[in-house]
C-alpha cells in the first residue's frame, strides 16, 4: 500500500519541507487579497463643504485619510484623526486641530430638537468659524448612531496615549485592555464641479399703458457647513415658498381684466444665494440689462427680496438707502408696518449682505424683508436650520401680511374701506395654508446646497419642481448662467460624501506582548509534556490502589 512506502517518503520530505514553506508562504501571501476582511463598522459620512469664492479658498481641501482615531483630549500629531461630538468641540480646539491634526470626524447630535439654546448657538458659531478659512485636513460629519456613541466612549476612556502613564506594567496592561480604532475614508481627490446656476422668472403683465414693474425675488438654495445636510428651512426655503404663494395669489387676481392691477409683477427665484454672493442674481441682471430688449426691467418700481421670513412673526425691512417718503418702498413699509434697517453697501466686503444689494447696485429701489435683524445672523448658514411647525405657522402669517401689503399698494387702497370691500379683499387674498406648509416641508427636506442644486440639471430635483409649480401661474423662463472660465467667481468641489470604515485595532506593542505570553504558555506546555511520564506514574499509583508499578 502506498501509505507504507510513504514512511520513507516522509523522511525525505521532512528535511525539505521547511524550505518549501519558505518559498510557498510568501507566494500565498502575495496571491491572497490585500484586505481580506471587511471592517466591523461602515458609515456613510458627509464631507465639509469646499469652495473658492473669487479664488479665495474656503472649507475642507482634502478627502481621503487613513489614520488612528483619537478623542479630543488624547490626540497629538498629524497621524491622528480626531473623533468628537459636534457639541463637545470648542472653537479653540478646532483651530488647533485645523493646524495640526490629520483629520477630523464630527458626530452630529442625536436629536436636534433636544439641544439647548446654548448648544445650538455654539454649533452655529462653530460652523461660522469653520468655514471662514480653508482646512487642509479632511473634515467629515456623520449622523448619530449607537455604534458611533460606543466608539466615541471607547476613545474617550481609552488609555492609548503618547505621554507616560505610570509604570511600564500599567502601560502594558493598558495596551492589552484598550481598543484602538483605525479610521479610513477612501474618496476621490476633490475635483471642480461643473456648476450651472439658474434663475427662474415669470411675469404677470399689468394693465396696458403702465410699464411699472414690481420684482419679487428670493433665492432657494441653502447654506451650511455640510452640503448634504443643508436643509435650510428658514434660509431660504421660506422665501421661495413665499414667492410661489404670492405668484399664486396674484395670478388669480391678474387673470381677470377687471381686477388686474396697474404694475406688472415679476417673480424671480435664484438658485445661488448669500453663500456665493448672489451670483445668479448678478448674472441674471447682467443678461437682462445688456440684452437689446431690456423691456423686462424697464421702470422698476421696487424690488422686494424675501429672505428668512419664518423664524419669527415680525419682519424687518433691510435697505441700502433709506426709503424716501412718497416713494413706493416707503408706501410698502408703512403698509407692512415694519422697522427699517439701513445698511450701506460695502463693495470691499467679501460677500454682499442681502440679495437686494445686487439690485441697488444697478440703481433700482430695492429692499429685503427678513425676520432676522442682521445679515450676519448665524442661523442663515447652519445645519440646524430645520423644519418646525412653529416656523411654518410664522411663515403663513408673514406671507399673508406681505400679500396684503402688496395688494393694498398695487390697488392703492387706504385703510378706510367698507366692511363689504374688506370681505372681498380677504377672500381674494387668502393664503393657502396647507400648500404653504406642504412646500415648506418639502423644500426643507431636500438638501439644497449649491453643491447639489446647481450641479444637477435644471430639469431635475428642486429646480424642476419649482419651475413646474411657477409655470402653473405664468410663463416661466429658465436662464442658465455660466461661471467665467478664466476668472471664476466661485468654484465648487466634489465629493460631498463618502463611506467611512472603522477598524478596531491594537497598538503595535500589543503583538509583542502577545508573543511573550504565547511563548510563556508554550514553555509551560513543553514542560507539561516532559513531566507527563512522571505524572502518569503517580496517577497510576493512586488509581490502581497504590499497588506496585514497574
Amino acid at each position: 500500500m502506498w501509505l507504507d512506502e510513504a514512511d520513507g517518503f516522509a523522511e525525505i520530505f521532512r528535511g525539505y519541507l521547511p524550505y518549501y514553506l519558505l518559498v510557498a508562504l510568501p507566494i500565498f501571501i502575495i496571491m491572497s487579497p490585500v484586505n481580506p476582511v471587511a471592517a466591523s463598522h461602515e458609515f456613510s459620512v458627509y464631507r465639509m463643504q469646499q469652495y473658492d469664492l473669487h479664488t479665495v479658498p474656503h472649507g475642507c481641501r482634502s478627502a481621503s485619510f487613513n489614520l488612528e482615531g483619537r478623542s479630543l483630549t488624547s490626540w497629538s500629531t498629524s497621524r491622528h484623526c480626531v473623533v468628537a461630538r459636534v457639541q463637545d468641540i470648542t472653537i479653540d480646539q478646532f483651530m488647533e486641530i485645523r493646524a495640526k491634526a490629520g483629520a477630523l470626524l464630527l458626530v452630529l447630535p442625536k436629536n436636534d430638537t433636544m439641544l439647548t439654546t446654548e448648544e445650538k448657538e455654539h454649533i452655529q458659531l462653530l460652523e461660522m468659524a469653520m468655514i471662514q478659512q480653508e482646512v487642509n485636513a479632511p473634515v467629515y460629519f456623520a449622523q448619530w448612531s449607537p455604534d458611533f456613541e460606543d466608539i466615541i466612549r471607547d476613545l474617550q476612556h481609552s488609555f492609548i496615549t503618547d505621554d507616560r502613564s505610570g509604570t511600564a506594567l500599567e502601560a502594558m496592561l493598558n495596551t492589552v485592555s484598550s481598543n484602538g480604532y483605525q479610521i479610513v475614508v477612501t474618496a476621490p481627490t476633490p475635483q471642480k464641479m461643473d456648476s450651472k446656476p439658474v434663475t427662474l422668472h415669470g411675469k404677470l403683465v399689468g394693465r396696458s399703458g403702465s410699464a411699472n414693474t414690481i420684482v419679487i425675488a428670493a433665492h432657494y438654495d441653502s447654506n451650511a457647513i455640510v452640503p448634504e445636510l443643508s436643509q435650510g428651512a428658514d434660509s431660504n426655503a421660506s422665501g421661495a415658498v413665499a414667492v410661489l404663494e404670492l405668484a399664486r395669489i396674484f395670478s388669480r387676481l391678474y387673470s381677470l381684466a377687471s381686477v388686474r392691477g396697474a404694475p406688472s409683477l415679476l417673480f424671480m427665484l435664484t438658485s445661488v444665494g448669500h453663500s456665493l454672493n448672489y451670483f445668479s442674481a448678478k448674472k441674471w441682471l447682467e443678461e437682462q440689462m445688456d440684452s437689446t430688449d431690456a423691456s423686462l426691467l424697464q421702470d422698476v418700481s421696487f424690488v422686494m427680496c424675501l429672505d428668512s421670513i419664518s423664524s419669527s412673526p415680525t419682519l424687518n425691512m433691510h435697505v441700502s438707502k433709506p426709503p424716501k417718503p412718497g416713494g413706493a418702498a416707503h408706501s410698502i413699509r408703512s403698509r407692512l408696518g415694519v422697522a427699517v434697517n439701513h445698511k450701506k453697501i460695502n463693495l470691499a466686503d467679501e460677500l454682499l449682505a442681502w440679495q437686494h444689494e445686487r439690485f441697488s447696485i444697478r440703481r433700482m429701489t430695492a429692499f429685503t424683508l427678513s425676520s432676522l435683524q442682521t445679515h450676519k445672523h448665524p442661523s442663515r448658514s447652519t445645519i440646524l436650520d430645520n423644519h418646525s411647525e412653529a416656523h411654518a405657522q410664522n411663515l403663513v402669517d408673514n406671507i399673508a401680511l406681505i400679500a396684503r401689503a402688496l395688494a393694498s399698494h398695487i390697488y392703492n387702497l387706504t385703510d378706510e374701506v367698507s366692511d363689504e370691500d374688506a370681505g372681498l379683499y380677504d377672500d381674494a387674498l387668502t393664503v393657502d395654508e396647507a400648500s404653504i406648509k406642504h412646500w415648506y416641508k418639502y423644500l426643507s427636506s431636500q438638501p439644497r446646497s449649491p453643491h447639489i442644486i446647481t450641479v444637477s440639471p435644471p430639469t431635475a430635483g428642486v429646480t424642476a419642481a419649482l419651475e413646474r409649480t411657477l409655470s402653473r401661474y405664468m410663463d416661466v423662463t429658465v436662464s442658465i448662467h455660466a461661471v467665467d472660465k478664466r476668472e471664476p467667481e466661485y468654484t465648487l468641489y466634489s465629493p460631498t460624501g463618502a463611506i467611512l470604515y472603522v477598524y478596531s485595532v491594537k497598538p503595535a506593542v500589543f503583538d509583542l506582548i502577545l508573543t511573550v505570553a504565547i511563548a510563556a504558555y508554550l514553555t509551560l506546555v513543553y514542560f507539561a509534556i516532559q513531566l507527563f511520564p512522571r505524572f502518569y506514574e503517580e496517577y497510576a499509583k493512586v488509581v490502581t490502589g497504590k499497588s506496585k508499578v514497574q
Binding site: A6, V505, T544
Partner: protein, 228 residues
C-alpha cells in the same frame, strides 16, 4: 491585524501539536504516514457527516436569521457526530503498535486535520486583516483544548474495543463515549444558563475536557497494569 499577528496565532495553534508529536515518543515509531492516514479519515468522516446532514436535515440557515433555536433538532444533529467515533475506531485499527502509540497517533492526526480544515481558513482570512478581534486568539487556544479532547476520545474508543476491559469500567466508558458528541451542546447550554463570557466558556471547555481526560487516563492505567 498584521502578518505578525497571524504568526502569533499560528504559533499558538501549531506548536503544541508539534510538541505532542515530537516529545510524546510517537515520532520514534516513524508514524507520520499513520498520522496523515488518521487525518484523511477525519476528512472522510466529515464529508460523510455533511452528506448525512444535507440529506436528512431541514435547512436551518434561515433559522439563524430569525433567531429561532430548535433544541430537538440540535440534539439530532449532534447525534450525527457519533460518526466521529466510528472514524476514530478505524483510525485506531489502522495504527499498529502499543496502546498509547495507537491512541496518540490517531489523536494527533485527527486533531491536525481538524485544524487544517476548519480553523486555518478562518485564521487566514481573519487574523491577517486590519481588524483586530480576540476571537482568533481564542480559537487558537481552543484548538489546544481540542487536541486534549481528541486524545481522550481516542483513549475511550480504544478502551471500548478491548475485550479485557474490567467489567466495572465498561459502563463508564460507554457513557462517556455516548456523551462525547453532545459535549459542545452541553457546554453551550451551561454557558448560556450562566451567561458566561467567551473566555469563561473557553475555561469551562478546558476544565470539562481535563476531567474527561483524567478519567480516561485512570482507566487506561488500570488496563495497562493488567496487561503487564
Amino acid at each position: 491585524m498584521t502578518l505578525y499577528h497571524f504568526g502569533n496565532c499560528l504559533a499558538l495553534i501549531l506548536a503544541p501539536y508539534h510538541m505532542a508529536y515530537k516529545y510524546s515518543g510517537i515520532s520514534e515509531y516513524a508514524t507520520l504516514s499513520k498520522c496523515v492516514y488518521a487525518g484523511g479519515l477525519y476528512i472522510f468522516t466529515q464529508l460523510c457527516k455533511m452528506l448525512l446532514l444535507a440529506t436528512f436535515f431541514p435547512d436551518t440557515d434561515s433559522n439563524y436569521i430569525t433567531g429561532q433555536y430548535n433544541v430537538f433538532l440540535e440534539i439530532l444533529k449532534a447525534t450525527v457526530d457519533l460518526a466521529d467515533l466510528l472514524g476514530m475506531y478505524f483510525a485506531l485499527n489502522s495504527v499498529p503498535g502499543k496502546g498509547h502509540a495507537k491512541i496518540l497517533t490517531s489523536a494527533v492526526g485527527w486533531a491536525c486535520a481538524e485544524v487544517l480544515v476548519s480553523r486555518s481558513i478562518l485564521l487566514w482570512v481573519g487574523a491577517r486583516g486590519s481588524e483586530f478581534d480576540w476571537k482568533y486568539v481564542r480559537s487558537c487556544a481552543e484548538s489546544n483544548v481540542a487536541l486534549l479532547q481528541h486524545s481522550a476520545t481516542a483513549a475511550l474508543v480504544w478502551l471500548w474495543t478491548r475485550s479485557d476491559l474490567p467489567r466495572k469500567h465498561s459502563p463508564i466508558v460507554v457513557s462517556l463515549l455516548a456523551i462525547t458528541p453532545y459535549k459542545g451542546l452541553i457546554e453551550d447550554a451551561i454557558g448560556s444558563v450562566l451567561s458566561l463570557s467567551a473566555w469563561a466558556m473557553l475555561g469551562l471547555k478546558a476544565i470539562h475536557t481535563t476531567a474527561i481526560s483524567l478519567t480516561a487516563l485512570g482507566m487506561y492505567a488500570v488496563l495497562a497494569q493488567q496487561i503487564q
